[in-house]
């Protein structure tokens, strides 16, 4: 469960996120929608305790990002899009095992998790190769495995399909569905309304650091009387009617 309670983040004179409040229920795939620079990554970084909210708080599975950052980190797995953040001189296995060890998993548990994830993500042919020469899709699979190695309850996916081709993005979405079936709480950020609608029933819509909408996607469609998600998005951010 993720509960954002009036969280704001200020960098000098710039307010990146302003008084954000929404709640993601346990086992839910929740969409965080907004254009580039809307404050999605800052929000995710606050959830991951890399940044501390200037005001307000965020609770992950009941633990405050302000008061119990280490407890929060133990329960989350975060995946960044674009830069997947892997050590190119290490093999896929070494990359995943490194994080497994940092999360305090035993060696046998790490190897067991790597074997499972490797099968699930179809990485067996390249698991022992150095990631430097991997394609974008292969790297993304390794990054997903690294995010999931400690079997987190809450998974934060920050624009995870950026740079993936159609096939890789589809495989990725299937994986998200599978993780939801396992009962994981997932926050999925994107600037693509179409992608969000394929995975999420509920969304939060951000624009220039502010929350413009949070709630049921079907209700949003009904409110604006159209199924065209791009039109709905434009109407919401402009604060007007269609």
């Amino acid at each position: 469960m993720i509960e954002v309670k009036g969280a704001s983040k200020q960098f000098g004179t710039v307010t990146a996120v302003r008084d954000l409040t929404f709640r993601v229920e346990e086992g839910e795939v929740y969409g965080l929608l907004g254009e580039n620079g809307a404050g999605k990554t800052t929000t995710m970084r606050m959830m991951a305790t890399i940044l501390t909210p200037t005001t307000g708080d965020i609770e992950i599975s009941g633990f405050s990002v302000r008061e119990q950052p280490l407890e929060v980190r133990r329960r989350i797995g975060i995946l960044f899009g674009g830069e997947v953040g892997l050590y190119s001189r290490l093999t896929a296995r070494e990359n995943i095992a490194y994080f497994g060890n940092l999360y305090g998993l035993t060696s046998s548990r790490v190897q067991e998790r790597i074997d499972n994830l490797s099968r699930m993500l179809d990485m067996e042919t390249f698991i022992d190769r150095r990631v430097g020469a991997f394609s974008r899709g292969m790297k993304q699979k390794v990054a997903i495995a690294r995010t999931l190695v400690h079997d987190p309850d809450v998974i934060l996916l920050d624009e995870p399909t950026t740079g993936l081709d159609v096939t890789a993005a589809t495989i990725f979405r299937r994986m998200v569905t599978r993780l939801q079936e396992e009962g994981k709480t997932i926050l999925f950020s994107s600037h693509n309304m179409g992608e969000i609608s394929k995975l999420c029933k509920r969304i939060a819509l951000m624009h220039k650091g502010k929350l413009r909408f949070s709630g049921d996607l079907a209700a949003l469609r009904k409110q604006y009387g159209t199924d065209d998600l791009d039109d709905i998005f434009m109407a919401v951010v402009e604060g007007g009617e269609l």
């Binding site: 980190r73 960044f80 830069e83 997947v84 050590y87 001189r89």
Partner: protein, 394 residues
């Protein structure tokens, strides 16, 4: 738990660095390639010039005297006829021109001082060697004449040499060998300690930030200080590897290279006693820690790998200035305050180690002050590293 995390991060950093060609080049290029290369090149050209100067000494002579026969007996001397000797001297074809005036031998026989004119080129090392050779021969010839004159006057040579001074060098063979190294090794050691860790430090923070791996690392449930400690140890290890490679490289060059011949044949590390060796190890460790802390600090401030590289040149500068300033000084001349100044203290103590005599007070001052500098540097690095957003690319 803390040590386990530090060990996990350190193991990964070392594995990553050992697979990084850039880090290897940074650590071992200077000590293992550049030092021997410069020394062999310098040594070879020096000994070649000396050899050529000795093997072939072309001289032009105007006039005649038994002195010329004596001069011609020196190995390598060739008496050459030249149409334009001055031009030949300028062009380096002749090393010197000796002009013997008329009545030269008559003046000597008469008991007077006969003048001899020698033209040479002070900008040409080989010509300077020829001048020295002529001077020695003239002195030997003069001595023979003086002996004859004294004999004729019924006096012994002692009459004109009332005092025979015997200068004895108190420096032991170890100290002579160490003294030679004391000038050069601290420079090499400090520069390698500073340069050896640069590639690693830059890669481990600025590089990780740029590649986005630092952000992932900071989401793991571990303390930032544990990450920094592991990175500090990794950078220190690369620094010390570079320094040890430098020491080995310099000692090999001195014992085997062209500069190691002749007087340096007795080269050894005999000037190192267990106590001075301990001081040397502690100094190397403390300097490695100071440079590693400083480099990680700069790497944390840098927004990109390239920016980090620019900042790192300041570290090399910081290492070179004290080393060059103290290079010509003997440890007995180094003022006390240098033993508490950062980097200077390490250089000064290294010099004492290589002279074979470490003053306990200096060791205490140097090591004590270094500990303070290490603590300050690491505290700053830690503060910067723990700063919110320090691990983020943007």
């Amino acid at each position: 738990m803390g040590w386990q995390i530090i060990w996990t991060v350190l193991k990964k950093e070392l594995l990553d660095l050992f697979r990084d060609r850039k880090a290897w080049i940074g650590t071992f290029l200077v000590p293992l390639v550049i030092i021997p290369f410069v020394f062999f090149l310098l040594g070879n050209s020096y000994s070649n010039v000396e050899k050529e100067a000795r093997e072939y000494v072309p001289l032009a002579i105007h006039g005649s005297s038994p002195l010329i026969d004596m001069l011609a007996k020196n190995p390598g001397v060739r008496l050459i006829e030249s149409a334009d000797p001055e031009q030949a001297l300028q062009a380096g074809q002749l090393r010197a021109i000796i002009t013997i005036p008329e009545r030269f031998d008559e003046e000597i026989k008469a008991g007077n001082t006969a003048k001899l004119l020698v033209a040479f080129d002070s900008t040409n090392t080989k010509s300077v060697y020829a001048r020295d050779l002529i001077k020695q021969t003239v002195e030997a010839y003069s001595k023979e004449i003086v002996a004859k004159r004294l004999q004729q006057a019924g006096m012994s040579e002692a009459a004109i040499q009332p005092i025979a001074a015997d200068f004895q060098n108190v420096a032991t063979e170890e100290r002579k060998s160490g003294g030679m190294l004391a000038g050069f090794i601290p420079l090499m050691l400090v520069v390698s300690l500073a340069s050896g860790g640069i590639a690693a430090a830059n890669d481990l923070v600025a590089g990780e930030k740029e590649r986005g791996t630092m952000e992932s690392l900071l989401t793991a449930p571990i303390a930032a200080n544990h990450i920094l400690t592991a990175k500090l140890v990794a950078v220190m290890m690369m620094s010390m590897l570079s320094a040890i490679a430098s020491l080995i490289s310099v000692s090999l060059v001195f014992s085997m290279g062209p500069l190691g011949g002749g007087d340096n044949a007795a080269f050894s590390f005999a000037f190192l006693s267990p106590a001075t060796l301990l001081v040397l190890i502690v100094v190397i460790l403390l300097m490695a820690a100071t440079f590693a802390g400083l480099e990680l600090m700069l790497s944390t401030i840098a927004k990109s790998f390239k920016e980090g590289q620019t900042y790192m040149s300041a570290v090399i500068f910081l290492a070179m200035v004290p080393s060059y300033m103290l290079m010509p000084q003997s440890p007995v001349d180094i003022a006390e305050h240098y033993y508490v100044l950062p980097v200077f203290n390490g250089v000064a103590l290294c010099k004492e180690v290589f002279y074979g005599k470490v003053d306990p007070l200096h060791a205490l001052l140097g090591i004590g002050s270094s500990l303070v500098y290490v603590a300050i540097t690491i505290a700053f690095a830690s503060r910067l590293f723990r700063r919110e957003g320090a691990g983020l690319k943007n």
